[in-house]
């Protein structure tokens, strides 16, 4: 299984700019466990910037274990399954959490 850092590095290639038209958001990733940490995603003008650290005022926060984070972006487990099992949680407007999943082209396994 890939590490969190390796998965973070794949995010720009998974990002779907077509689904980010008019989408301007800062999203905090709060990843627990070994190799976890804080990153934030800055989406603007259909471009994604991944920054290590804490954002000042993110629109919402994804709190996730290292294992679940890798599972989500590798396509090993669907996001709804991770949410239902409590391994992944969105804090912020519920609509934003759902819309977030459309920003990515996640490999199907």
């Amino acid at each position: 299984m890939a590490t969190v850092k390796e998965t973070i590095a794949t995010l720009p290639s998974l990002f779907n700019p077509k689904k980010a038209k008019g989408y301007t958001r800062i999203i905090q990733l709060d990843i627990s466990g070994e190799g976890g940490g804080q990153w934030y995603l800055d989406v603007k003008n259909q471009e994604l910037r991944v920054v290590e650290g804490k954002a000042e005022k993110p629109r919402f926060v994804m709190t996730v274990s290292d294992e679940a984070f890798v599972k989500y972006f590798s396509g090993a487990e669907p996001v709804m399954s991770l949410v239902r099992s409590g391994q992944l949680k969105f804090t912020g407007p519920m609509t934003e959490g759902i819309a977030f999943s459309s920003l990515w082209i996640i490999p199907k396994k």
Partner: protein
């Protein structure tokens, strides 16, 4: 139908308030509800802003983008449930402000939160009937000024406007069909002389979305069946009632739309409940970036008014006419946050006597 949207524009007040600023003063809901309802910020009106000024600003943008001589506009329909005048017509003021000709046919249309979509349908009907080459439709509301201080509605009640020029030539989004569903429901209302809107169903009726599914679902379902379209696969954008973030999930699920597609057109967390413009500003955002041949489903809901459902399909004319400035995304991000005291002052929540002799605001 051959007619549809030729050009469009929106106006969103620049001033906003974070819902937590309101909560710090009233503490009248559990703050957990903000995430569940997707309440983050809502618009604040300046003293010189109302449904008329916002509607005119949106219409100016629509007319400028059309490149069409204003003398060609033969009708104007102004939809709002927060008309700045109790008796006087708003459409005539807009007509003058926009420099439109005096012999056009115009009227105000008051039909709850679906006044905007009803204005669009009226404009299309007028053009389709051959009474005018072009008709202007405006949907604008200022709910934020019209809910009482200290009620939970203050968290979401917002303001905004959408306008579109409807015609048969140079159409960028053709109206493929529409449908309505209306019945009497004693919800949001202001009786004569009332300063503020009251909730007929109270807070419980509001959070349970009393009346929403009973109107939005039959309106939407009838249109989908009539057009023979599959909600799960035939739409690139789905714009549903979004006074709260829960509403589009309820309506979208009931009509069989993909929830992620629905959520891409939900602006509740950015701007709150824009009333008559609530379902039309997200349509404008879709048109800002749409490609030829894409289809959008739009459904509005007005408390006590019912629902309109509309289906648009973009045309090849969009390519040369896609706006490069004044986009919805820009208007949403162009903001100045204010505190609750200033919001209350600007929205005339505490009115001075009309005869007050003072220069001090």
């Amino acid at each position: 139908m051959k007619s549809g949207i030729v050009s469009y524009g929106t106006a969103i007040p620049r001033h906003r308030i974070d819902v937590h600023e309101i909560w710090k003063v009233w503490e009248n809901v559990t703050p957990d509800i903000f995430d569940k309802m997707s309440f983050v910020e809502r618009a604040v009106l300046m003293p010189n802003e109302d449904a008329l000024t916002l509607g005119v600003a949106a219409a100016e943008l629509a007319l400028d983008r059309s490149g069409i001589d204003r003398g060609a506009v033969g009708a104007l329909f102004f939809g709002t449930c927060t008309n700045p005048f109790d008796t006087k017509a708003t459409a005539t003021v807009a007509q003058d402000a926009l420099g439109l000709r005096p012999d056009l046919f115009s009227y105000d249309l008051q039909f709850g939160g679906k006044s905007g979509t009803s204005a669009v349908i009226s404009a299309v009907a007028y053009v389709e009937a051959g009474f005018a080459d072009y008709a202007l439709a405006i949907g604008a509301d200022t709910l934020n000024r019209h809910f009482p201080p200290g009620t939970q509605m203050e968290y979401s009640a917002s303001a905004g406007a959408f306008a579109c020029l409807v015609g048969r030539e140079g159409v960028i989004a053709e109206l493929e069909g529409f449908g309505s569903w209306a019945s009497d429901l004693s919800d949001y209302h202001r009786v004569e002389g009332d300063r503020y809107i009251q909730l007929g169903g109270g807070w419980l009726g509001y959070v349970s979305n009393w009346g929403l599914l009973e109107h939005a679902v039959p309106a939407g379902k009838a249109l989908l069946e009539r057009l023979g379209l599959d909600p799960a696969s035939d739409f690139d954008a789905v714009v549903l009632p979004q006074a709260t973030g829960v509403q589009p999930m309820m309506v979208g699920g009931s009509l069989g739309f993909d929830v992620v597609t629905v959520m891409n057109s939900v602006l509740t967390s950015s701007i709150g409940d824009c009333g008559s413009a609530g379902a039309l500003i997200p349509l404008a955002q879709f048109l800002d970036y749409a490609d030829e041949g894409q289809r959008a489903f739009v459904c509005s809901y007005g408390y006590g008014a019912g629902s309109d459902a509309l289906c648009f399909r973009t045309t090849a004319a969009l390519d040369g006419r896609r706006p490069s400035s004044g986009l919805v995304g820009f208007q949403l991000e162009d903001k100045t946050l204010v505190d609750y005291a200033h919001a209350s002052k600007y929205e005339f929540k505490y009115l001075r006597p009309a005869t007050l002799v003072s220069n001090y605001l």
